[in-house]
């Protein structure tokens, strides 16, 4: 069973190509566009990893990350921040409890490498 990745990205074109990249690399990627979408998916179809854009409509990616990491049920799900913003991302990621980060435009090798490191390739 392929590992499930939840891609939280409100820019449609980017989410289309990224979802394609992830699926063609052996994962099962779902796209949601905001925090409502995140919590809906978490309930019904728990992902193995979350790829989280920071600039979102409504609740920001940073707050979503903090909330999930504070929640007993979801804090074990690895979160990779996915963002164009470059202001001391290293420090910010640590602050909000994210496990990794990639900058846009991303290098697909780098992104896939980080995902593999966190959750491997397949469940089996």
């Amino acid at each position: 069973m392929p590992k499930k990745i939840l891609l939280v990205e409100d820019e449609k074109d980017l989410s289309t190509v990224t979802q394609m990249r992830l699926n063609k690399s052996g994962y099962d990627a779902t796209v949601v566009v905001d925090s409502k979408g995140v919590f809906a998916v978490l309930e019904k179809n728990r992902p193995d990893l979350i790829l989280l854009d920071l600039l979102l409509p409504g609740m920001q990616g940073g707050d979503i990350c903090k909330q999930l990491k504070a929640d007993e049920r979801y804090k074990s799900i690895p979160i990779i921040l996915f963002t164009a913003s470059s202001c001391d991302l290293e420090k910010y990621a640590k602050e909000i409890g994210a496990d990794e980060y990639v900058l846009k435009p991303y290098d697909p090798t780098e992104l896939l490498g980080k995902i593999k490191k966190l959750i491997g390739l397949q469940t089996g």
């Binding site: 820019e11 074109d13 980017l14 289309t16 190509v17 990224t18 394609m20 990249r21 063609k24 600039l55 963002t83 164009a84 913003s85 470059s86 202001c87 001391d88 290293e90 420090k91 900058l103 846009k104 435009p105 991303y106 697909p108």
Partner: protein, 506 residues
């Protein structure tokens, strides 16, 4: 009158002798001088003290009269001073007496008349009041001095009754409140608090304070002058007991109108500064979020562009023919170029805003040079240029940000490769004067000496051949200088250029 014994008989000779002796003992060692005088003020008897102090013998004294004890210039006053003793039986007065040796001292004389058997006698008790006089003089001098302090004080000093009626003010107090004289003010003010305080809150305030604590210190109040104008004063007042046991208020005021004015000025300018700071903060914040937004807006479409092109090229969405491949490669090249440009601009902006984060670690410069040489090797090979490294193996570790210095070296090597048609590039490292120095030497066309100073300025391009934004070298300089190093260029036009940069050794 001679005493009689209990049987009311005349005393025997022995008894009388004893009686006389007792009289002598009574007064012999008294501290004061006791003299018995006749109605003409001649001495009839004196106690021992008189002989001891004045220096006359008993025999001499028996021939003297009262005025003999005075210095000549005071003898004329005698009769006037003892007038009350003659007429009413008692006089108390002061004069100056002179000893036999001529020395003088002030005395107080208590003179009583005694009428006995029709005869008039006088008893004089004379007291040396030198000490008292000295004390009086000291007190007087002290009083003069302190009165001087009070009167000349810049601080307003006052005394008032418990009801607030002024009983004393110094000139300063009157002047501060705009009155001609202390007298005028004392007459005008029957209630300090009601008449002088402009602010009813302060009026109540000072009354409460005094009631509770019995004093106020540094109480700032707005006071009304005689002409109606207002001043700020700092008041000190305390309950105190006067000499006569009555309780009153004593205190001081200082005119602090100027200080208040200065304080208000400072407060106003502080407020203005605060407002400016707030406005500046808001502007910076706005710019920050603008920058973040720009960053996001430029990079997001770029990400989508790059990935969609890459995936097509990789054949992920199906096979592509040669022509399609070439076109897609054109797209990819330009997307990469766009990416580089956007990074340059955004990096430079961040450097300028001081928001660039440096991850300073101990690193090996030679390792980084070797890494960069590896990345650029292909480009050099394609252009048929040599790319050589010449490393000083004794370089110590240097503290710097690995990625940023990589960026610098790659940028410089790139420029060198672009500007060189034949020959090659040499990257060398040396240690010099406490710095690690990296040099990138090329055999390109070189730079004219008049162009050298502008080389690292932003937006400057010596030649359009390289394309780009003209920020590359400016960014290199910012990156190097932020890490404590220097960057410069040497060049001979027509022969080649050497770029140098240094980093401080830990």
């Amino acid at each position: 009158m001679k005493p009689k014994n209990s049987k009311d008989q005349k005393l025997s000779e022995a008894e009388e002798k004893e009686y006389l002796a007792r009289i002598d003992y009574l007064s012999r060692y008294a501290n004061d001088f006791i003299i018995l005088l006749d109605d003409k003020f001649y001495f009839l008897e004196t106690n021992k003290r008189v002989e001891e102090v004045y220096g006359y013998s008993h025999d001499e004294l028996m021939k003297m009269k009262a005025t003999d004890l005075r210095p000549p210039e005071l003898r004329g006053l005698f009769l006037r001073q003892i007038d009350d003793a003659i007429k009413h039986g008692h006089a108390l007065f002061e004069t100056i007496h002179q000893k036999k040796d001529g020395s003088q001292f002030p005395v107080e004389i208590n003179l009583h008349s005694i009428d006995i058997d029709g005869k008039r006698l006088y008893q004089a008790v004379i007291r040396d009041i030198s000490a008292r006089k000295r004390a009086e003089e000291a007190l007087k001098q002290s009083e003069i001095r302190f009165r001087g302090f009070f009167e000349n004080s810049m601080v307003g000093i006052f005394e008032s009754t418990l009801e607030g009626k002024l009983t004393y003010v110094n000139s300063a107090f009157a002047r501060i409140l705009g009155y001609f004289s202390p007298e005028e003010m004392i007459e005008s003010i029957t209630n300090i608090v009601e008449q002088l305080f402009a602010d009813p809150c302060q009026r109540e305030g000072i009354k409460l304070w005094i009631q509770e604590k019995g004093k106020v210190e540094n109480f700032e109040a707005l006071l009304i002058k005689k002409d109606g104008s207002k001043i700020w004063a700092s008041i000190y007042a305390i309950l105190s007991k006067a000499d006569d046991g009555k309780i009153n208020y004593q205190g001081t005021i200082v005119d602090i109108t100027e200080r208040k004015r200065a304080e208000k000025l400072i407060e106003d300018s502080l407020q203005a500064t605060k407002e400016s700071a707030e406005a500046l903060k808001a502007a910076v914040k706005a710019k920050s979020s603008f920058t973040a937004m720009v960053s996001h807006e430029l990079r997001t479409p770029l990400a989508a562009l790059r990935e969609s092109t890459s995936q097509l090229l990789e054949g992920i969405l199906g096979p592509i023919n040669q022509e399609q491949k070439e076109y897609l490669e054109i797209a990819k090249r330009n997307i990469d170029r766009l990416n580089r440009l956007i990074n340059e601009v955004l990096d430079f902006q961040r450097l300028e805003a001081g928001k660039m984060v440096f991850n300073m670690q101990d690193n090996d410069i030679n390792e980084i040079v070797k890494e960069c040489e590896k990345s650029m090797a292909i480009i050099a090979k394609n252009k048929k240029l040599d790319l050589v490294v010449s490393l000083n193996m004794n370089l110590p570790k240097v503290k710097f940000d690995h990625d940023k210095i990589c960026q610098v070296i790659i940028n410089l090597v790139n420029n060198a490769l672009k500007g060189t048609e034949k020959g090659g590039i040499t990257i060398s490292t040396i240690q010099k004067d406490g710095f690690a120095e990296v040099s990138i030497k090329d055999t390109g066309i070189g730079i004219k000496s008049e162009d050298l100073p502008r080389l690292f300025q932003q937006y400057e391009q010596i030649t359009r051949k390289a394309g780009g934004t003209g920020l590359g070298l400016a960014i290199c300089r910012e990156l190097v200088e932020a890490q404590g190093g220097k960057i410069w260029a040497e060049s001979i036009f027509g022969q080649g250029t050497t770029m140098h940069f240094t980093l401080p050794v830990s």
